[in-house]
C-alpha cells in the first residue's frame, strides 16, 4: 500500500486530466498569454491599448447597456411572473406548466430565436402584417429589429424565463405568516413590502439581475443571426478580429477583448454568488 499503489491510482484519472488540459486549459492559456503578445511573439500591452479604439468602446458600451437593460427589464417582469406563480396553487397545473415552459424557453436561444422574432415582428412578420391592417406601421421609426433595439426585445425572450427559474425559490421562501404578522401589528400592504418582503427579496433580486446581465453579456449567436454585418456588440467585435474575411485579422487584439469579457463575467458571477449566499441564509 505504499507509493507504488498511489501512483497507480493516479493513472486512472490521467486520460481525463490530459483531455481537459488540452481542450480547456490550453485554449484559456492561449487567450491570456496571447493577449500580452505581439504578432512576432514579443511581449506588449498594445493589444489592451487598442481597446480604446472608438468602435471597440462603442461596442463595449452597447454590450453593457444592452445587458443592463435586458437584465433590469427581464428581472422586473420575471419577478412579477414569479410572484404570480408563487401566489397560486403550489401543486396546480398552471404552476407546473409555467415552470416547465420557463425551463424550455430559457434555453431557447441562438439562431432559432432570431428567426422566431423575424417571423413575428420582422418586416414581413405576422404581427407587422396584422398591425398594418389596423393602420399601425411597426417600422415607422426605421428597421429597429436589425439594430440594438431589436436585440433588446429578442433577449427578453430568454431573460424573463431565466429570471423565473432563478428567482422563484426566493419568492417561494416568503412565508404568509410574515404578512399576517405585519398586519396584526397594523402594517399596510405598503409597509409589508417596504419593510419586510422588499428587504428580504432585495439581495436575491439583485443577484439574479447580475446573473441575467452575465447571461446576455456573453450571448453571441442570436445577435449574429439577427444582425449579420458589423459589430455592434463586443462578442461580434471579437468574432470580427478573429476572422480574416474582413481584412482585420488581429488575433492578439481578439484575445485582449476576450480577457476583458472574462474579467467582467467573472466579477459579475462572484458578486452573484455572494448575494446568493446571503439569500440562502434565510431561505432554509
Amino acid at each position: 500500500m505504499g507509493g507504488r499503489r498511489l501512483s497507480l491510482n493516479w493513472i486512472g484519472a490521467v486520460p481525463f486530466l490530459v483531455y481537459v488540459a488540452v481542450f480547456l486549459l490550453l485554449p484559456t492559456s492561449i487567450i491570456t498569454a496571447g493577449a500580452f503578445l505581439k504578432g512576432d511573439g514579443s511581449a506588449t500591452l498594445s493589444n489592451f491599448q487598442d481597446l480604446s479604439r472608438p468602435y471597440v468602446i462603442s461596442a463595449t458600451v452597447n454590450s453593457i447597456l444592452l445587458s443592463a437593460l435586458t437584465a433590469i427589464v427581464g428581472a422586473s417582469f420575471g419577478a412579477l411572473l414569479a410572484y404570480a406563480i408563487a401566489t397560486g396553487n403550489p401543486q396546480g397545473l398552471l404552476r407546473r406548466v409555467v415552470v416547465s415552459a420557463a425551463g424550455v424557453l430559457a434555453q431557447f436561444g441562438g439562431v432559432t430565436l432570431a428567426f422566431a422574432f423575424l417571423a413575428s415582428i420582422g418586416p414581413a412578420g405576422l404581427v407587422t402584417i396584422l398591425a398594418k391592417q389596423y393602420g399601425i406601421n411597426v417600422y415607422a421609426g426605421g428597421f429597429w429589429i436589425y439594430d440594438i433595439r431589436g436585440l433588446e426585445l429578442v433577449y427578453l425572450y430568454f431573460q424573463i424565463p431565466l429570471m423565473v427559474l432563478v428567482f422563484l425559490p426566493a419568492v417561494d421562501g416568503i412565508k404568509p405568516q410574515w404578512r399576517e404578522a405585519a398586519e396584526s401589528l397594523g402594517g399596510t400592504t405598503w409597509h409589508y413590502w417596504r419593510y419586510v418582503a422588499g428587504p428580504l427579496l432585495a439581495p436575491a433580486f439583485l443577484g439574479c439581475t447580475l446573473l441575467l446581465f452575465a447571461n446576455s453579456f456573453s450571448a453571441y449567436a442570436t445577435a449574429n443571426a439577427l444582425i449579420n454585418q458589423g459589430g455592434i456588440i463586443l462578442p461580434q467585435q471579437i468574432a470580427n478580429a478573429l476572422s480574416s474575411e474582413v481584412g482585420l485579422h488581429e488575433p492578439g487584439f481578439a484575445k485582449a477583448m476576450a480577457v476583458t469579457m472574462i474579467v467582467i463575467v467573472v466579477m459579475v458571477t462572484v458578486l452573484y454568488s455572494l448575494l446568493q449566499r446571503r439569500t440562502s441564509k434565510w431561505l432554509q
Binding site: 492561449i30 425551463g103 436561444g109 405576422l126 449574429n224 478573429l242
Partner: protein, 281 residues
C-alpha cells in the same frame, strides 16, 4: 372589526387575482406569438393572398448544403455523446473508488466551462484548430473535441446524480471479489445501474450540439445552425422551417428527458438552465 378585516382581505385577494391574470396573459402573448409566427411563416404561399402551402418544408431536401450540415451535426452529436461517456464515466467511477481527494477538483474542472462564454473559448481554439487542420485533420467532425468540453458541466451533473444514487464501492468490490475484470465491472455492473443518468447526459449533449453555433461559425465550419443562418439570408421560409424542425426535435428530446426523470424534477430544471446558457453562446 373581524368583518372589516375580512372584506379588506377579500378586496386584496381580488386585486391579486386581477394582477395574476394580467401577468399571465401578457407573458402568454409574448412567449407564444413568436412560436406560432414561425409555423405561420413557413406555411405561407408565394404571395400573402395565396393559400397555405408546405413548400418551404418540402424544399428542405433540395438544399444539399443543408442536408450535409444536418448530417454533420447529427454525427457530431453522436461522437460527442460517445466520447463524453468514455471520458467521464470511468474517471468519475475511478475517482469515487480510489481517488476521493480528487473529487472536488474534477467537479471544479467540469463546471469551469460554464464561466467561460463560448465566444471567448473559441478565441483560444482558433490557433489550435489551425494547427490541427494542418497536422491532423480539418474535417468538421474535429469540432467534437471542443464540444466534449462544452457538454462537460451538464453531463457531469447528470452522471454525478446517477452515481450518487448507487453504492459504487460495494458493487465493484463485490464484482471484483467474484473475479470480474475492471472492464467487466464497468460495462456489466456500473453502466447498467446508472443507465438513466447516462441517457440524460446523452440527451443533453445531443440537444446542445444540435443547437451550437458560436464555435462552429468562428472556426469556419458549417454545422446545422451556421447553415440555417446562412440560408436565412437567401430563403427565409426554408431556414425558418428548419429552425422550427430543430426546435421541435429539441422539444421532443426534452419531453423524453422529463419522462425518464420523473420525480427528479430539480435536476432537470438545473440542467436546462445550464444548457440554455451554453446554447446561446
Amino acid at each position: 372589526m373581524a368583518a372589516v378585516t375580512q372584506s379588506f382581505q377579500r378586496t386584496r385577494r381580488q386585486k391579486l387575482q386581477v394582477f395574476r391574470a394580467v401577468i399571465f396573459v401578457v407573458a402568454g402573448l409574448f412567449f407564444l406569438v413568436p412560436l406560432f409566427a414561425m409555423f405561420e411563416f413557413t406555411t405561407r404561399g408565394r404571395l400573402l393572398t395565396d393559400p397555405r402551402s408546405l413548400d418551404a418544408w418540402k424544399s428542405i431536401a433540395t438544399y444539399p448544403d443543408l442536408i450535409a450540415a444536418i448530417v454533420a451535426s447529427v454525427e457530431l452529436a453522436a461522437i460527442t455523446s460517445f466520447a463524453m461517456l468514455v471520458l467521464l464515466v470511468p474517471t468519475m467511477v475511478w475517482v469515487r473508488l480510489r481517488l476521493r481527494r480528487l473529487n472536488r477538483i474534477i467537479e471544479f474542472i467540469c463546471l469551469l466551462p460554464l464561466t467561460i462564454p463560448a465566444i471567448v473559448l473559441v478565441v483560444g481554439l482558433v490557433p489550435m484548430y489551425q494547427w490541427m487542420g494542418i497536422n491532423f485533420s480539418d474535417s468538421i467532425l474535429t469540432l467534437a473535441f471542443a464540444y466534449v468540453v462544452l457538454v462537460l458541466p451538464y453531463c457531469y451533473r447528470a452522471l454525478d446524480a446517477g452515481l450518487s444514487a448507487i453504492d459504487v464501492k460495494t458493487l465493484s468490490e463485490a464484482a471484483r471479489s467474484l473475479g470480474a475484470s475492471w472492464f467487466t465491472v464497468m460495462v456489466q455492473v456500473i453502466v447498467p445501474n446508472i443507465s438513466s443518468a447516462i441517457l440524460n447526459a446523452c440527451f443533453l449533449s445531443v440537444a446542445l450540439v444540435l443547437g451550437e453555433y458560436t464555435i462552429a461559425q468562428n472556426l469556419l465550419y458549417n454545422n446545422l445552425q451556421v447553415e440555417i443562418a446562412l440560408l436565412g439570408r437567401a430563403n427565409a421560409g426554408v431556414s425558418i422551417a428548419v429552425s422550427a424542425a430543430s426546435l421541435l426535435f429539441a422539444f421532443v428530446l426534452l419531453v423524453l428527458l422529463s419522462l425518464f426523470n420523473r420525480g427528479r424534477g430539480r435536476l432537470r430544471l438545473d440542467d436546462l438552465k445550464q444548457v440554455m446558457r451554453t446554447e446561446r453562446g
